[in-house]
Symmetry: C2
Subunit: 324 residues, 2 copies
DNA sequence: CTTCATTAGGTAACCGGTTACACATTCAAT
DNA sequence: ATTGAATGTGTAACCGGTTACCTAATGAAG
């Protein structure tokens, strides 16, 4: 690898001049510029970003910490963040925390040491203190860490209300709910939305709520349990799509027809929902937009530009397919 | 952010000593070490990795270039690579090339400038020259760039043969094939495997082959076309799972029963296959192992340790579910 | 009492860039 | 002819670490 010194030597100028050519900064004579450019292309010289970062204290890299990239929601989010970052000239370091706070803190340390300019994170366990200790812009996505910190979330409660009301409107008489992971804010909010709609119904009891863990396996178990206890259930609102899919699988196994006997609504709007048969009715989040907004906000914060708005609560949309 | 100088000052020693404590290298007295450690924790000092990288010419970061993280195959691969990298103390910069060679080269440049230690890439367009120009270890995964370069692929042809023979054994009389993207080596190999099995059949003609592009949309169109021209088809081998799923969707639409009237086999073994109804019979690649092996090989190459083996062709496994 | 190996720790060069500052030249305006 | 602004380029400090090299003290062996 040739360095700026090699270029300088070959062009017969000082490194400062080469740097000026490189950055198009300061005065450089016509001839000199040409000589330098010739040397650069002849040596196929590429400036060393590490050296640059060291001086600038800016690495043009950001960290993205998600629980698990295998979760389709975060896959799409990651893609959105990476696209936007790439367009703006940033690199993305990918980190899978598995929702484990030890791993999370480990990644935070590593990112800090690598001079990343900022972080986008989806975490339940992170505290406001930890964020402050990072001493760099951190945007929280999908889950709110603390009021006042840059955050991008969606209308979880409204979405849940819409989902539940939609089931009611479709004629469902007994609507159950598969909850998301306990302790996760968005799961609580979706639960609240559900409860708000059904709490006043005369048939309602807490036994229509079962616990899932935002994944397939737990949802399958929860649904089996639910339908055993309440065979009369004719509508299920699952707190995310993966769990809704689990519920569909169970219904299939039990020979319950969807949507004739049982209607199911999910939440998230992951790409997977269109691949299934039946396709899933869901409350779609603008996932790509979430990632894009987060990245744009982060860039604003990193550039110490005045950032107008550091809290976004994006709208969700009911998308009707044939699971209802 | 406090630097090594602050620590040195606080502990009343030179920066060299602090560095020795940090790296546990060279001689450091008991008391001195304690003083330094106290200063470190008091200042919450974390060494600057950028400065370190500059000197070491090693950034402890690798690049991962995939066509699209949204493709479940690459999602799982990315997860495997990141897990392994993280365990070995490396960061992963994620790059989505969209199979676009311009984007690819752009990422390669950026990665090189960022002093990444190595690259794992899945590309059709990359040439051996480009790889050589990178002047750093590059491991090619899923697709072979050129003999001699570090590569990790699977037994595509054998897998395709197994899939096709399996359909035959299941009693299928007319077996069609949905091809993968033209120009992609693994698509060619899978096609060859299919052809090897059916070429000698008396019913066989090239019209049983339709072109897909490794995605849902093209597969749906291709399958519609296929089944219109050849309603007698009772077995389909799709070159990947996503396309197989597309075929299943079409069958559903046309009221064709799976597996009674039509059997379908995919290729890849993405997690999605277990989520569907019916679950998909597929030729499963050891995706996680692919990523793991690639990362381990890369670390070997980066550490200029003698790497025994730079070419892996991993086995695939037929997983029978209820789409056949 | 030397002598030399071992331990301890400081000084400064180096990694590859950027940029403040100094110095020189050119040229238009007075 | 004088002056000052604009232009062009080099020198060297700096970013925050690592490490080669040097000096000094200690202690065991001869």
């Amino acid at each position: 690898m040739s360095s700026i010194k090699d270029v300088a030597k070959m062009a017969g100028v000082s490194v400062a001049t080469v740097s000026r050519v490189l950055n198009d900064k300061g005065y450089v004579g016509r001839d000199t510029r040409e000589k330098v450019e010739k040397a650069i292309s002849e040596l196929n010289y590429k400036p060393n970003e590490v050296a640059r970062s060291l001086f600038k204290k800016q690495s043009s890299t950001i960290g993205l910490i998600v629980p698990d990239i295998m979760n389709p929601f975060f896959t799409e989010l990651a893609r959105a963040v990476e696209d936007t970052a790439s367009n703006l000239g940033y690199n993305v370091i990918l980190c899978n925390s598995d929702g484990n706070s030890k791993k999370e803190q480990g990644y935070l340390d590593v990112l800090q040491q690598n001079y990343v300019n900022g972080i986008i994170i989806s975490s339940n366990t992170l505290t406001a203190e930890q964020v402050k200790a990072m001493n760099m812009p951190v945007v929280s996505i999908d889950r709110e860490i603390s009021r006042g910190l840059p955050t991008i979330v969606v209308e979880n409660k409204n979405g849940a209300v819409a989902a539940t009301q939609f089931l009611k409107k479709k004629g469902c008489k007994r609507i159950a709910h598969i909850r998301g992971t306990h302790g996760v804010v968005n799961a609580e909010e979706r639960f609240e939305g559900y409860k708000e709609v059904v709490a006043a119904e005369e048939w309602y009891s807490d036994s229509y709520i079962v616990d899932g863990d935002y994944d397939m396996q737990t949802s399958v178990e929860a649904t089996l349990d639910l339908l055993k206890r309440h065979p009369e259930v004719d509508g299920i609102f699952a707190a995310n799509d993966i769990m809704a899919i689990g519920a569909i699988k169970v219904a299939h196994q039990l020979g319950i027809k969807i949507p004739e006997q049982l209607s199911i609504v999910g939440f998230d709007g992951i790409a997977l929902t269109n691949v299934l048969t039946p396709e899933l009715t869901t409350i779609a989040q603008p996932i790509y937009e979430l990632g894009e907004t987060a990245m744009n906000m982060l860039v604003g914060l990193m550039g110490q530009q005045p950032v107008h708005e550091t809290y976004y609560k994006l709208e969700v949309t009911l998308i009707e397919k044939n699971s209802t």
